[in-house]
């Protein structure tokens, strides 16, 4: 069972503001779906290595060629740039990541 504090901790991790009502319904949902997740306990998965497989595609690599995105102006107009070209956010001085 997941308690409400845990629900709030998860919301904090993923940066979601949730109302107390939302927290209640999320908690209920969590506990229902975690019940479903228990079904996986019945499968013979001990010897399964999920990272070994027949890969259809291996990571392709491109040449080290530079090409300039010629539509930066479009980006400028569409994005939250300020007039100097910076994105502006509330000050993070004094905060740490």
């Amino acid at each position: 069972m997941i308690n409400k504090e845990e629900v709030e901790r998860i919301a904090g991790l993923i940066k979601l503001e949730i109302t107390p009502d939302e927290a209640d319904s999320l908690q209920e949902h969590f506990n229902k779906i975690l019940g479903y997740f228990e079904l996986l306990g019945n499968l013979p998965l001990e010897s399964v290595d999920p990272f070994v497989g027949d890969e259809d595609v291996i990571c392709p690599m491109r040449g080290d060629d530079v090409s300039r995105w010629d539509n930066v102006m479009a980006l400028n107009e569409l994005a939250n740039f300020n007039e100097e070209g910076y994105f502006e956010v509330p000050s993070i001085l004094g905060e740490d990541n």
Binding site: I2, V7, I10, A11, L13, I14, K15, L16, E17, I18, E22, S25, L26, H29, F30, K32, I33, Y36, F37, E38, L39, L40, N42, L43, P44, L45, V48, D49, P50, F51, G53, D56, V57, C59, P60, R62, N71, A74, L75, L78, A79, N80, F87, V89, P90, S91, I92, E95
Partner: protein, 489 residues
């Protein structure tokens, strides 16, 4: 014959021969949209001006004898609103991206334009493709053209409805756990999810990157093959895109012969939890294939039906929680101003995302978080591997597998929206196919006793879309092409 009744192949033929003008096609399409959009709400963005310009260009080229080689010349097309078109909004059905305009084209948009299509609009969808009813859209729900009280399925409900209602003969959606096949089944059209990696995901706004795949909705199998010919290309901009050679799907289905094709049927899937008429539809489909020379084989897929749902609802939300983290109000999209950064983040995301998206990114964050990773995420990956192995075993004995597309016919609006897990269960037959990265089609199987569409799913091993198309073509020979839905008149 009116334009709305024509298939994509027919339109392209007429336009190339100069017997039908692209501009006439576009006018007919927008008439149709104007008449029906109020009740259907299938489209989020309508690109009338762009479409008209494009049609004029096509008519000009045709008049000069050019562009005759283009396979889909003059064919009007609708795209799900999570596929980026330069200069137009790509909302993903979310408040978060309501005003975001993509500065680039998705891979398939380039391919479609190259093939001569005309983009008509962007279709309604469950927010960020999370849902099975198109009710989780910030732009209101889409109606099922067969019964306006019912949902069109989802998440690509707008695209399915656009084809069923006769707006266009060809639309595209994305399928992460059934989001093409389930709405296709609900709306009485064909819908295919290709093998993971067959079609470029570049420019498809990610929900769950290891599961998402773009695919077509059509009313004929021939159009399905034609659409695949155009979009199934290697795109270097998507590192997960397969580099292998794609056959010509249209050629492969000419005079399709399925003699000796081994068709697996999973008896377990036909028992409890499946609507009787839909079970009969699968039997009927199997019967048609057998009449055409196929060999039926009873299959056991172990516990995959039981494990698919938990497995999917671990992996997809985990990836989604990461994919949707970028919507933080800093660079684009919705921003809720606040005097400190943390508040700006949580308010923007709290306001920008709807309930279902919140549920999923919360679950996804949880299963990846420290202390739960092994118990959930890692176990989910193992279960996924198990599903893959089971299918692999099955395909050592059969060439294709038939199974239901959905457990029920289309449900009513509002019926399941308050019960997320019941809603999840409507994808129970489509989820395993995504988990294993296989191709699958939902084919039209006629109407049930209450006049609602029925369907059957055909799946094949990776990269074997041709087998699916051949089998589907045989079904269509007997059942007929998908009719236009009454709601679209």
């Amino acid at each position: 014959m009116s334009v709305r009744e024509l298939s994509a192949r027919e339109i392209a033929g007429l336009v190339k021969r100069g017997e039908l003008k692209a501009t006439e096609v576009v006018r007919a399409v927008f008439d149709e949209i104007k008449n029906n959009e109020k009740k259907l709400n299938a489209l989020i963005t309508i690109m009338e001006e762009r479409a008209l310009k494009r049609a004029e260009l096509i008519d000009e080229k045709v008049a000069k004898g050019q562009w005759k080689e283009k396979a889909l010349l003059g064919v009007p097309v609708v795209l799900k609103d999570n596929i980026c078109v330069e200069g137009y909004p790509t909302t993903c059905g979310s408040k978060m991206l309501k005003k975001w305009i993509s500065p680039y084209n998705a891979g398939i948009v380039d391919y479609l334009e190259e093939a001569g299509t005309i983009l008509i609009g962007k279709s309604n969808m469950d927010e960020f493709a999370m849902g099975s009813s198109t009710e989780h859209s910030a732009f209101g729900p889409t109606s099922n053209p067969w019964d306006l009280e019912r949902v069109p399925g989802g998440s690509s409900g707008g695209s399915a409805a656009s084809v069923a209602a006769g707006y266009v003969p060809l639309a595209f959606g994305s399928d992460t756990g059934g989001s093409i096949r389930q709405p296709a089944a609900f709306c009485g059209v064909h819908g295919m999810k290709p093998t993971y990696g067959l079609v470029s995901r570049y420019g498809l706004v990610a929900f769950s990157s290891s599961l998402d795949q773009i695919g077509p909705f059509t009313r004929t199998v021939e159009d399905m093959a034609l659409a695949l010919d155009v979009i199934a290309k290697h795109d270097y901009r998507d590192s997960t895109c397969w580099t292998g050679n794609r056959p010509s799907y249209s050629e492969a289905i000419l005079n399709a012969n399925i003699k000796g094709m081994r068709v697996g049927v999973v008896r377990d899937f036909m028992e409890e939890g499946l609507d009787d008429e839909l079970a009969q539809a699968v039997e009927k489909g199997l019967g048609i294939l057998v009449e055409n020379g196929a060999i039926p084989v009873d299959l056991n897929l172990g516990d995959i039906k039981e494990c698919a749902l938990p497995c999917y609802y671990i992996i997809a939300p985990a990836e989604a929680s990461s994919n949707l983290a970028r919507y933080d109000g800093v660079r684009y999209g919705l921003r809720e101003d606040a005097d400190n950064l943390l508040d700006q983040y949580i308010k923007t995301r709290g306001k920008g995302f709807g309930d279902e998206v919140k549920r999923r990114i919360m679950i996804g964050t949880f299963v990846l978080s420290s202390g739960y990773y092994d118990a959930y995420y890692l176990r989910g990956l193992k279960a996924r591997k198990y599903v893959c192995e089971k299918f692999k075993e099955a395909f050592s004995n059969v060439d294709v597998i038939v199974m239901p597309s959905t457990p029920t016919p289309p449900f009513k609006k509002g019926e399941l929206v308050g019960d997320p897990i019941q809603m999840y269960l409507s994808d129970i037959f489509t989820l395993p196919v995504n988990l294993a990265g296989l191709p699958g089609i939902s084919v039209w199987m006629g109407l049930n006793s209450t006049g609602l569409p029925m369907a059957m799913q055909i799946i094949a091993p990776k990269w074997h879309e041709v087998r699916i198309l051949k089998a589907a073509a045989k079904i269509e020979e007997t059942i007929g092409a998908c009719p236009l839905a009454p709601g679209g008149e």
